[in-house]
Amino acid sequence: MATIDIKDILISARLEATRMRHYYLGIEHLFIAMLEVRGGLTSTLIFEAGFNPEYVIESIRRKVGKGSRHRLWAGIPTTPRADVVLGIADELMKESELPHITERELLIAILDEGDNVPLRVLSGLGVDVKSLPQQAKTRQITRAVTQPFVSIDLAPQFGEELNKDELFILRRMFHGYAQVRVETRLRGGYSDSTLIVITPIQGDNREDAPVVVKIGPHDAIYDEAQRYERHVKGTLPPLTARLEDTVIAPQISDLAALKYTLITDDNGRALDVRGIVGVWENSKLANWLYEKLYNSFGTNWWMQSRPYRFETWQEYDWLLPPILTLELAKNEDATEDAIVLRLPIKRARLNHIEYGETVVVENFVVHRVDREQKSITLALGQSGGSITRPYQIKIRGINFEEDTYFRGEVVDKLAGRVWKTRNEELENAVRALEPDFDHKQNAVRFGDFYAPNPIMAYTTLLDTPVFGSLSTIHGDLHMGNILIGANDTALLIDFGHTREGHTLMDWATLEVSLLSELVLPHLEDGWASVRQLIPYLIALNESRIYSESSPISQKLIPILRLRQIVAERLAKPNHWEEYFIGLALLALRGVTWETLSVNQRRLMFLVSALAMFAIAKKQSPTDDHNTPFDDTEFSKNTGL
């Protein structure tokens, strides 16, 4: 079957050149146009080399960058190199006695020319470019997508279905096996990803060791693979989860997948820490956290910390909802009275921006592109692919037909009207918890006790300087990402957020997770019940147990041990503010998470408030530390 004509390729190549504001026709535009042909020769070869054509397109755009809004010439001239390539393709056409150039001749010519942007990007991504010319000459394209057949069985305890895309990915990933058994879904990916444990089975019914498969949006999955290479691979203890090399990314969907091999317990099951809640004694879990998790990963991660002075927003702002959601303004000229946001940002000003006002953002980086929601998220900061970029701004109403955006692109100017502010979003999140107190005051009243209101106090917290430490951190160390293997070895999975960051963030993340999954399930629904925890949490923040005999205190034993780890890692001994700041903001993020139950989110609100209370106490030395229930000091300060 013939490949498509150059005429059609040129049309979409010129569109690409215009969308990218390049206004010249280069090899990169031709190649992107060829990759856009689904099931075409180029996209098929790239796909078979293990890469998603969409991802390659994004990578080329990222490497080349968008042009400036000022046009310097009319028309769309062809670059000297594109002229050369089109010349080669023309000769190939004549040799083959074809009526016109097709995708095949063009691809052979691009590969033959050998010195162009797309080929450099392919090599940079790790595509085996040398094998492509032969395939470009001989590969026949048929429309039928061949789907390898692997029988997929759901284990009885799995108890739910997999969707069509997930099944397709699993069939590709386990191509060559007769069968796979889907064991369990690991809970609590707070991201858009799915984690499942799978046992591959050979043709002769031999079972291979189970693996963890993560399925998620393809850009996130590729990022995770890169992070693993950079931060994780060389620093893991000898026995642990390891990432297998290739990412599986089928063309049919935006999903991709990767798999981690595990060393599991004797009966072949991988347990996450959630699975042992109620099975292990609390003291066993506490010791395990310290001995197995902290000690085995710590030597290369948290213990390798260096002094790091930062302002809280640098490490924690990105956790919270976008500071603004804007509706894209069509007419950029009508922005005379607009509020302009650019570096350096004055936070005090952000707090006064209101619904309907026009805001112009300058020199922000595209952080996320969401085609389904027709939105992009921008963040501040020019360099790197950092996930922790602060000051995220969401822009709604993007028309992706007219305009293209890619991750990492610097947007020099964009205007929009304020649709929602972060403060509104936080207030709505708290209202959804049906508070039985006034949630619009600076202090919230829990019975006869007052604490700072997290949704009011968080902005001051974000501006607080922290004397902390920096190390490799997991970045999302909740209970679902910690597995228990043979001989109770600790295994970590899901390295999508692994980076150099504030050392204590991992422990604050784990504390929040332990509180909501280990402690909370024993309480009834409602504020009255959640409030019972107040004396326990205050005692915890003072590193002591409130009431030895109570069952709640028993549940807090692992967290008390976690606090010992934190105590060892505080940059300045006994200066717990460094930890409470992270805890307060991570818990505040939890308040906005709709994947948590209402009661879990109530607990998050309380944890955040109490962490802020602990910080406030430290800052007013006149406080009497022995009477945590005496609210006079704090309530006097807040004027209540």
């Binding site: 090899i27 490497k63 042009g67 000297p80 942007v117």
Partner: protein, 118 residues
């Protein structure tokens, strides 16, 4: 023999074009070096007139001690070297650094390479 320099453009509107210079004809000579200027303004030896991200006077190439040197003229958008270990994060250069034939560097949005002398 007269020293010559060939620089090939590897991206942008002039992708594929080769600029050739020879000592005595182009550039500026001092006692022990030969220097060529790169930038958007048309009085540069290597003029990148179609790259709005290049500064008017952006960078210099020096031949000194039998070796090429690349100098960034304190530009807003910077001069970068290709990073072989991390393809997508390029290394911004400061001051003057040695550069090998065949090594890729970026001025504004334009990728360039010194072609090996035959």
């Amino acid at each position: 023999m007269v020293k010559t320099l060939s620089v090939i453009v590897l991206s942008g509107a002039e992708d594929g074009r080769t600029h050739t210079f020879s000592q005595g004809h182009e550039g500026y000579e001092s006692e022990d070096s030969w220097s060529l200027s790169v930038g958007r303004r048309n009085d540069n030896d290597l003029c990148l007139q179609f790259d709005t991200f290049a500064s008017r006077q952006h960078a210099k190439l020096h031949w000194k001690n039998k070796q090429w040197w690349l100098e960034d003229c304190n530009t807003v958008n910077g001069t970068f070297l290709e990073n072989t270990s991390d393809f997508f994060s390029e290394e911004r250069i400061k001051g003057i650094i040695p550069i090998q034939e065949g090594e890729l560097f970026r001025i504004g949005r334009t990728w360039l390479r010194i072609q090996p002398n035959e």
